[in-house]
Symmetry: C2
Subunit: 223 residues, 2 copies
DNA sequence: GAAGAATTTCAACGATCGTTGAATAGTAGT
DNA sequence: ACTACTATTCAACGATCGTTGAAATTCTTC
């Protein structure tokens, strides 16, 4: 029998620490099959390490998952907050345009995904997965991302001072859905468009998304 | 030991067929925990039926899942197609507005979800789940929904004759993400808005969504 | 009410699950 | 060489997994 019969691919042992190999392997597998769809044994086979090492480096399967989420979330919050502050400093006194604010919200993510695709692809797919799960999506997304989202909503409120709260929050909801489906990279768009648009072509969506969404915000908030 | 220790709720045996009770129980559980997160034993406990009956009425777990998808998809395709045809007949000769077309795409779903919430809630959550899954989302969504989507894209192409294909397909992609997150009813919007907007309030989103999305289509397709 | 088909019950299979404890190997400072 | 700590290996636990075959029951039709 094969020593590692579970994974198709394998995380190279090269320079990485065992802990990192486990995180990488688990991140990729969770992104593809979901939390319950992947076993510790599959993860450790892909990471080329013994099963019990998962429980040595992390306390449990659930803790391993949380650690995957935590590993990258601060980087994302940092670059997005800095992008927003840069936009605001560019317009001292008055509010930036809606499109500029949304661009600060989406551009850092899509750009990161474009430039370091292999590194971030699975993490974004995981977020997309969670964002659309009614159950444990709630707590996770709230804790990790809501503070930043509130910061952006304040900026948008200044740019759209006459906007009803309900209109604003629903607009953000639409934004959130569009953004997460985009970096889920499901390939459905490729199939549907017959090649006219590619899910993985972040460079081609990075400008389109804020343009599209800003128009929505502005029309919905128009008195 | 309890006879049915798995499910929290239970599908009443009343008037329904065993087959229907299994489908209902499985639909709800799959929507909450995902395909791999639910066992046949949990499903049959909730349906108050013996485990082996799942394999009598359906060949396998996978087949049960496919049957859940098939059970309601024709109804959805029917009402959406009829809504589009009604809009087109209202504008003989020339094309309907972008907002009217999008409304025909989204309104039937949101209205159905509003009026028969308990009946459709879990099915829509399941679709949201699948739409954001890179793996087996692809084939399923393509087979069941793409023909109708292509029909809508043709209508939109007529309403936006100067639109680049790439712009049109990306716009639809944003629409798809916004729509599926909306009927996922994750509750995240409620939490974020502090009550100003409610995920489950379909009546309040049914007009906002086409308005928001039509603005996006039009600005992105503007020459 | 007998015959035949459809449905339900019961018991079990091999495989895999998350998790653990104890033994072994590797590394650093003294 | 000895110690202390970290990292890894090996073997196993009880529970649950998807699935099945055969017997028992209920339903339908004459």
């Amino acid at each position: 029998m094969l020593k590692f019969k579970y994974g198709d691919g394998v995380i190279k042992k090269d320079k990485q620490t065992t802990r990192e190999r486990i995180l990488d392997a688990a991140e990729e597998l969770f992104a593809h099959k979901g939390y319950e769809g992947v076993s510790i044994r599959q993860i450790m086979a892909k990471a080329e390490a013994d099963v019990s090492l998962a429980y040595y480096h992390f306390k449990s399967k659930r803790d391993l998952f949380n650690e995957i989420m935590l590993r990258r979330v601060e980087i994302l919050n940092d670059i997005r907050l800095k992008a927003l502050e840069a936009v605001e400093e560019r317009h001292p006194g008055n509010a930036p345009s809606v499109e500029e604010i949304i661009d600060a919200f989406t551009h850092p993510l899509l750009d990161l995904l474009a430039r370091e695709h292999e590194e971030w692809k699975y993490y974004f797919q995981l977020i997309a997965h969670i964002n659309n799960s009614p159950d444990w999506g709630g707590e996770l997304m709230t804790r990790y991302f809501d503070p930043l989202v509130r910061r952006f909503l304040e900026a948008l409120k200044k740019a759209l001072p006459d906007c009803d709260d309900a209109d604003l929050y629903w607009s953000y909801h639409f934004l959130s859905g569009a953004l997460t489906l985009t970096f889920a990279e499901t390939g459905r768009l490729d199939n549907l468009s017959g090649g006219a648009a590619k899910s993985s072509d972040m460079a081609s969506v990075v400008d389109r998304m804020p343009k599209f969404l800003a128009a929505g915000f502005e029309r919905l908030c128009k008195k």
